[in-house]
Amino acid sequence: MNKTHNFQIIYEETLGAAAMNNRGFYYPVDLDFGAKGKIYCLNRAHEGDTSGVRVCVLDSDSNYYGVFGSNGYNEGQFIYATGIAVYDEIVYVSDEHLNKISLFDSSGEFIKRWGIPGSKEGQLNGPSAIKFDLNGNLYIVDHLNNRIQVFDKDGKYISGFGSYGTNPGQFNLPWGITIDSLGFIYVSDWRNDRVQKFSHEGGFVSLFGSSGNKNGQFNRPSSVAVDLEGDIYITDWGNHRVQVFDKNFNFIQSLRGESTLSPWAKEFLEANPDEMAARKSSDLDLDLDIEDQHMLSSHIEKLFWAPISVKIDKQGKIYVVDRNRHRIQVYSKKIFN
């Protein structure tokens, strides 16, 4: 932690557990917050086992409200579910294979979907992360077109910016997006290993980050979030960590993951006392001489393994979707006087 700054990010708890069906997560990729504390967690599963494709609805107390959506090409179904956003109690889900945005009501009933594949204005090629601004306009990371497109909530094209490349304002397979309280747009420019900041109209403002695994460097950043104070959180997906920066992009802290047993995980283990006993007698924090962070994360359960999305709720809690571990690690911000 950089001692010149007045806050620290602290681990709070873990939500969820692996499950191929119903309650639980299976390769979760994104989440967003709805009314009454509901959390909508989008699960992509994988092609070898598509039964886990669904949105799982829960709250921060681990109450479970059900699931909706499934794998397939029909309405209400997904092939490559990628991003989720909730606006006005409507749940929007992007599918980067079908090139569709699907809409559901808060109970999970399918409403409609829109999206035309292609590269022309208003068409989509691989919509990944999605984010609403305060005016109800939907910003879509049109990642295979290497641009951001803005639509109204009914799918009418408004504007767009970005192209393929490495210059400022250009992208290489961008993935995540957020909009801060001042209206600035942040995009995790995945294959350029950087994050770019734009004005609300899409004008380039600044960028930071380079390829690597040192502080302030990235290996395929997948998501970005900004809190009310303007501090920035980035899932450094390929380095299996979350990096925290202040609003001027000064490095503050690196989070490698500290997961504990979630309420759902505890329930499973309490129902399986033999496995609980064996687990308790195990050393789950082995001291391993492994440099490869992907490999290390495969061995050490508490660590992030391909953290894919970061979101901040109204209380300022930071939710990290830990894809390969099928859970959400929750952090909070402690401010020092």
């Binding site: 692996a18 092609e47 195990s282």
Partner: protein, 477 residues
């Protein structure tokens, strides 16, 4: 030049997973021996974009089950810049067959295949040592249950019988000694990990990877006798002794011969049926000792030998399902890592009888003609047809372009068939297959050659490719 091209094509079919005519011609200009050296040289980058695979396919990254792994392996066979490395990874996977059915740990099995890649061309001693430490192998053959005061012979027996020397080269006492030397070679958190494996448990947070652990206090420390050697041996000492054996040299040589040159019967029959080419086995065994057990050296000797270059061995081996699938995908140029269908390709190989990392037993798959029955043949033909019928695949379009660039030389069905076969990697067809293809052409397409404004379009070429893929010849390598 044609003979040289045909020899290069033969090499690329056997030492790779097939090739396009462009690749054959590129290598041909290098010369045969330089091509062999190039195949044996592992480039720093295999050209596989793992970040893309991991982004779009979660299970390639985490490896819960075997499905994602299979797709990942097939994708690498098709697209790696180090095709012989992938071919050897598949080779070692066949020899040291380890199965998901018991391990239930996709990640650990993926790690084992990666270990095969890393040791593909190296010292056989290093490979056996790494294999003995592979957690998936320790689970698969129960070495975690091999204790100093309660020996479990499973790994020790298979190490000698199926992995290095073959039946008849050692005694039952040697097996016991071998097992004793590997006591204490286990995995961390044994009780929890074996319970999770037995329960096929995903809970609470997905698979937890397995870690090798050596437990000194569970290792048998008394003197033992192994293959005439006396000592207080540990596993590494045993491997050193194994690697010095003539039987080991012959065993590995026969495996390499069977994989790359000419099918041998299944391993359990080797003690009773002599090798098809004892002289070849002698040459390879000599290379094994001369090079200090170096696999790369053995492969160089093999690929540059007369017995490998011989025209009599060409198109005499049945393609394994993974070879067939990846070979066709190479031709169609279908290598987009970001689409769901790369999983389908692995599924097709399963339908044809080869689910990677899930062999039927520790013996691996019975290969050669045993790959083919009426059901698997249908799957093979259907897969080829499904791929060659997609006119818009880049490889198909490239073949059509190649044919049209050379259309002035196409004035008969024979010349059309020749150029099609050339574009499928300089393969050959029997006379009966050529005749059937010719009849199909005139019956179904009935197009005159040499019309002034004539050109071959993709809708004409694809059915011909489909027909070639349906011939018995196309199943051979």
């Amino acid at each position: 030049m044609r003979n040289n091209n045909e020899l290069i094509a033969h090499l690329l079919r056997r030492a790779s997973f097939g090739s396009t005519i462009d690749q054959i011609e590129k290598y041909s200009s290098m010369g045969y021996e330089e091509t062999v050296k190039d195949l044996l040289y592992i480039k720093d980058s295999n050209g596989i974009q793992d970040d893309l695979l991991f982004r779009y396919h979660s299970d390639h990254s985490a490896g819960i089950g075997m499905a994602g792994f299979n797709a990942n392996f097939i994708y690498k066979m098709t697209n790696s810049n180090n095709p012989l490395q992938e071919k050897m990874a598949l080779f070692w996977h066949r020899v040291f067959a380890t199965g998901y059915a018991k391990v239930t740990q996709g990640r650990a099995l993926m790690d084992q295949i990666e270990m095969f890649r890393n040791n593909a061309f190296g010292d056989f001693r290093d490979l056996l040592l790494a294999l003995s430490k592979e957690p998936s192998m320790i689970l698969w053959l129960d070495n975690y249950d091999n204790h100093k005061d309660a020996i479990n012979e499973n790994y020790g027996r298979e190490l000698l019988e199926l992995f290095s020397m073959g039946v008849g080269s050692y005694s039952e006492e040697d097996i016991k000694s071998c097992a004793k030397a590997f006591t204490g070679w286990t995995i961390s958190n044994l009780e929890y990990m074996t319970m999770r494996a037995n329960n096929d448990s995903l809970f609470p947070y997905g698979r937890l990877n397995l870690q090798f652990e050596y437990k000194e206090d569970d290792h048998y420390k008394e003197e033992i006798e192994f293959l005439g050697h006396l000592g207080k041996f540990n596993g590494k000492d045993i491997i050193d002794i194994i690697c010095k054996q003539e039987a080991t040299a012959k065993f590995i040589s026969r495996h390499l011969y069977s994989y790359f040159v000419c099918d041998e019967p299944p391993v359990p029959q080797w003690p009773y049926i002599p090798p098809k080419d004892p002289e070849a086995i002698s040459i390879l065994s000599k290379a094994y000792f001369d090079s200090g057990y170096n696999i790369s050296n053995m492969l160089y000797i093999l690929f540059t030998s007369d017995f490998f270059k011989s025209e009599f061995i060409r198109f005499k081996k049945v393609k394994s399902p993974s070879e067939l699938v990846s070979g066709i995908l190479k031709l169609t140029g279908d290598n987009n890592p970001g689409v769901p269908k790369i999983q389908d390709y692995a599924n097709y190989a399963s339908f044809m009888g080869q689910t990677l990392v899930n062999p039927p037993s520790v013996e691996g798959w019975h290969e050669g003609v045993e790959w083919i029955d009426s059901g698997t043949l249908l799957e093979r033909v259907n897969f080829a047809s499904s791929q060659f019928s997609d006119f818009d695949k880049p490889g198909i379009l490239n073949i059509v372009d190649n044919i049209n660039r050379n259309k002035k030389n196409i004035d008969s069905i024979d010349s059309l068939i020749d150029i099609l076969l050339k574009n499928l990697g300089l393969i050959t067809l029997s006379e009966s297959s050529r005749k059937a293809l010719s009849e199909f052409y005139f019956k179904q397409l009935n197009i005159e050659f040499k019309e002034s404004d004539f050109s071959f379009h993709k809708e004409m070429i694809a059915p011909m490719l489909n027909m070639i893929a349906a011939t018995p010849d196309f199943q051979m390598v």
